[in-house]
């Protein structure tokens, strides 16, 4: 009669088997390959790499396959794997100004040195479902031209020459960059840690917060100074070699927001910056991140901190989707001990209520 507490072990094993079967789906349908995921669901792979904080297309594709397309689950798989990897140092800061640009736009100047490069973008597509895609068939080859070797300086560097925008803070040589995966995050957090947190943050959470600043909850008058996507070489200072050696290149999306700043008693009016950076082509993420980064600088810039997006503890404590999904979903775990305690309390309170106010009870009945 009383069986509820036994048999958990076999139930778990069987649930795992069933999950593996459900992941595979109908076995008459060919199985997805990691190459297919990496090539044809590339933006999903980019997101998993970004929020998983691990630049590895193959592992991200594997995670997506294993997670049945649930990207937050895939991010979790990558994070758990990443946590076990040994660390041997930090790379040199990447030079996004030297990026091999695949896409680059500025909404603040009609033309910029190096040109506006539209690249692969959904921006001007009409969102009409394409029935032809339901069939297989290759699209037309892309139009090509000679790659330009003209430099593509960052738009914010151009503004900087006139002193119209604040300087980017320069890292002190001997201070290591923070890492919230190795040291617990404390408040107030430095901007390095804030940016790391935002880079790992859930895209949807940042999107909503960034959007809220545009709608007046911590408005900061942004312009998309520049969004660029392309490949950047990563260098590592090898102590044995005595110089920085290239490790390879990563695809990055960088967004530099240019925000109005009215100045203060001690500072002249000038533009300020909000910064976003993500692996792969992740424009929505990079832009949202830049909006939230700027919002989180409110205190530093002497602005009132009133909106959720400006509240460092609120934003940084709730941005991580692996943490958030864990705690929300843990409500599925048994809580009957606590519930039992609450039941006992509630019964007692109700008994006392009915004793004190019999006429109310009658009225309710």
């Amino acid at each position: 009669m009383y069986v509820a507490v036994k048999g958990g072990e076999r139930a778990i094993d069987n649930a795992h088997r069933l999950l593996a079967d459900a992941r595979r789906g109908n076995r008459d349908v060919p199985e997805l390959t990691l190459d297919q995921i990496s090539e044809q669901l590339a933006l999903g792979v980019d997101r998993v790499m970004s929020e998983g904080s691990l630049y590895d297309r193959e592992l991200a594709a594997l995670a997506i396959k294993q997670a049945r397309g649930d990207l937050i689950e895939a991010i979790f798989l990558v994070r758990a794997f990443r946590a076990t990897l040994p660390r041997f140092g930090s790379s040199e800061p990447v030079d996004t100004g030297a990026m091999a640009v695949r896409r680059r736009i500025s909404s603040t100047f009609k033309d910029i040195p190096g040109g506006q490069i539209l690249g692969p973008t959904f921006d001007y597509t009409h969102r009409l479902l394409d029935p032809q895609l339901a069939e297989s068939g290759d699209p037309a080859e892309p139009a090509t031209a000679e790659a330009s070797d003209a430099p593509t300086p960052r738009v914010t560097d151009i503004l900087r020459q006139d002193g119209l925008i604040e300087e980017s803070p320069v890292a002190e040589d001997d201070s290591a960059v923070g890492d919230l995966t190795r040291e617990p995050l404390n408040f107030p957090a430095g901007r390095d840690l804030r940016l790391q947190n935002l880079a790992r943050a859930d895209e949807g959470f940042l999107l909503a917060l960034g959007y809220s600043t545009q709608r007046g909850y911590g408005r900061n008058h942004p312009f998309a100074g520049e969004i660029r996507f392309g490949d950047v070489e990563v260098f590592f200072e090898a102590e044995d070699a005595g110089f920085a050696v290239p490790l390879g290149s990563v695809a990055l999306t960088e967004c530099q927001m240019v925000n109005q700043f009215k100045g203060s008693a001690t500072e002249a009016p000038r533009f300020t910056r909000g910064y976003g950076l993500a692996f792969g082509q992740s424009e929505r993420k990079a832009m949202s991140m830049a909006l939230v980064d700027r919002a989180l600088r409110a205190q530093e810039l002497g602005e009132d901190v009133k909106a959720p997006a400006q509240d460092e503890e609120f934003v940084l404590s709730h941005s991580d989707n692996v943490q958030a999904t864990g705690f929300v979903e843990h409500l599925k775990l048994p809580h009957y001990v606590d519930f039992q305690s609450e039941l006992g309390l509630l019964r007692k309170l109700r008994a006392e209520f009915n004793q004190d106010q019999p006429e109310l009870r009658e009225a309710a009945e």
Partner: protein, 292 residues
Amino acid sequence: MTEATYNFAYLDEQTKRMIRRAILKAIAIPGYQVPFASREMPMPYGWGTGGVQVTASILGPDDTLKVIDQGSDDTTNAISIRKFFAKTAGVATTTSTPDASVIQTRHRIPETPLHEGQVLVYQVPIPEPLRYLEPRETETRRMHALAEYGLMHVKLYEDIAKFGHIATAYAYPVKVAGRYVMDPSPTPKFDNPKMDNCPALQLFGAGREKRIYAIPPYTQVVSLDFEDHPFTRYRQDGCCALCGADDSYLDEIVTDNAGTRMFVCSDTDYCEGRRAEGHTGSETTPMESAHA
């Protein structure tokens, strides 16, 4: 990719060292929440990642591990965590409270009194007892530093003014060694007195919130109350239907559509032990083999 090989008890030695430092600090300052660089574990936050990291850091090859959830060794998450350590550390596991050297728990303290040399590792969701009174970490840390616990007493007082008694049934706040107010994790307040002057070491791990705290053996742990409203334990008015225990915390089980209830021990090891000793309850059936 080949099958990954992991270190003993999963975590790498550097990480274990970092966690052990946090544990030592926590033991040195009973009830104080020590921040630590919690890792992403291969189980979700909220499933006991803090407890798992603490257990992984203190476990040695000679240890015997027991894992319970809601008092039971057989709930799915307890099984999952026990299997994790059996696989990654190869340690002996047990369901017997006295035989275990390390017991990881969620939401309960075993009924059988713990003895010296044992370690009880609690899984903690929200380590901050003041969190629901003050959401900001910067504020609550200051309040702890100044031992400024007035807000908590006001909350308890308001309960009394409103309901006639303190309306906290689980995660009932305690004061440790006369200094820090501490969250005992969401154990029912029935279990609170077991923490006081306990011979075993009690460690608390909160993975998502990145905090570790501790109660060293034989430390005073007092449940917060007022002179005219002393702390009272809550226990269901009844006996275990299987072993007849009238002193254990009970689970309520709905047995049919008419809402018939029966009560059984939440601590399955305690219940099985009593039945093995010949105790019976109203619903006792011949005892099935306890462990599949």
